[in-house]
Symmetry: C2
DNA sequence: TCAAGCTTACCTACCAACAGGTAGGCTTGT
DNA sequence: ACAAGCCTACCTGTTGGTAGGTAAGCTTGA
């Protein structure tokens, strides 16, 4: 145990982190990568950026994520998991369809994955043409999942008479997602989170009447 | 005049273009840059890409646009001009507010600046964090202009009773733009232009009732 | 009229910086 | 002993950008 303390002190000098914190670095890399992708897109971040921020060397990032697309995939997976965790905090069963949609909208107002930074998806989207195949596939799958999620809520709302029906639920869902993603993009670009809130109010307004 | 012909023949050998076509290359560079930005974003295109496509050398691009941000600015300016030209083809004065909005939506269905490629703006948006200052400013100005344009149409539609009123016209306009841009992004990413059409129908539906 | 000199539009050849990626070595906890 | 986690040192390719050269066209003045 004293050993551990000395190791930590040594780590301050050598920059080496004791094994007890071994999972930390990997998580941190993904978090920083996510942030950089939100701000600058997939091609807009480099291993060097992350290494500098973490105070370690570039080669160490390659130890955790050999190829850049490995890290890209990890970012998408972590984001997906983050959404699932976030949704599981709420007792959706007891909610009205409108309340469920409000939970959905609130997710993007979270400080971490928020309208201040833009949805990580958007960071990939606008570079879709030059993305590695494997990332494009995962992105497409993610989009499909997203669309189904929202479609289900819309369907429920229409059936319960909470939402106005305008064409197929899937079409209404697509509309909602497009507006939400667009609003996030605009809010991030102009550094004005209020844009997002405004659009969300409009979406809800158009849903309920 | 025979002189000119000989020069053209010489040009075929040397790769040099006679003065009569001097504006062509510059225009072509901007067009190709626009296309590449639509597909891959601002950082996703290089002078080398353009040079290769045009069959000239990289240094020649620098002759026309010394810095990359010069070319970026030219792309934005050309896009703005393209919109103005496009709008001027229509006799907007005689149209209803709804017809005007339909003209607006149709613009993004044009093969050149279209939902198949995504709005050039989106190519810049998602990299806003790492964009040269001068480009960010122009982009912000563009957004403001865009918002005012749509706000005016919404206002008109609401006053005439064509559109349903939901909050301030500016808020409704922001909503429309967000949905439009988001739809373009999604259509481009999934290579499915139908996404855009679906969302446009939804927007119109929510506007008129 | 026609040569001198400037301009346009391209070229070759280079540069420093940085990208993603690899090989191999060191220290540490178990 | 050995794997985890990080390191140094290096590789190749590409980036935006620069320097200097060249062949044509354009302009001008004797």
């Amino acid at each position: 145990m004293t050993k551990t303390i000395w190791n930590k002190i040594a780590a301050c000098h050598t920059g080496r982190v004791p094994a007890g914190e071994k999972q930390d670095t990997k998580k941190l890399i993904v978090e920083i990568a996510t942030e950089l992708i939100q701000q600058n897109g997939y091609q807009g971040f480099s291993y060097q950026d992350i290494a500098t921020r973490l105070g370690i060397k570039k080669a160490s990032i390659h130890y955790h994520f050999p190829k850049k697309e490995d890290l890209g995939m990890a970012v998408l997976s972590a984001y997906y998991q983050y959404i699932l965790d976030w949704l599981s905090k709420y007792d959706l069963e007891k909610m009205t369809a409108l309340e469920k949609m409000e939970v959905y909208f609130r997710f993007f107002s979270e400080p971490k994955m928020s309208c201040e930074l833009g949805c990580p998806m958007n960071g990939f989207f606008s570079e879709a043409g030059s993305l590695p195949e494997v990332l494009r596939e995962k992105l497409a799958w993610f989009e499909k999942w997203h669309l189904e999620l929202v479609t289900q809520k819309v369907k429920e709302g229409v059936e319960k008479g909470e939402f106005k029906k305008r064409g197929a639920p899937e079409e209404q869902a697509l509309f909602i997602i497009a507006a939400t993603m667009g609003a996030l993009n605009m809010a991030a670009e102009s550094k004005n989170p209020a844009y997002y809130d405004t659009v969300v109010r409009q979406i809800i307004g158009s849903l309920v009447c």
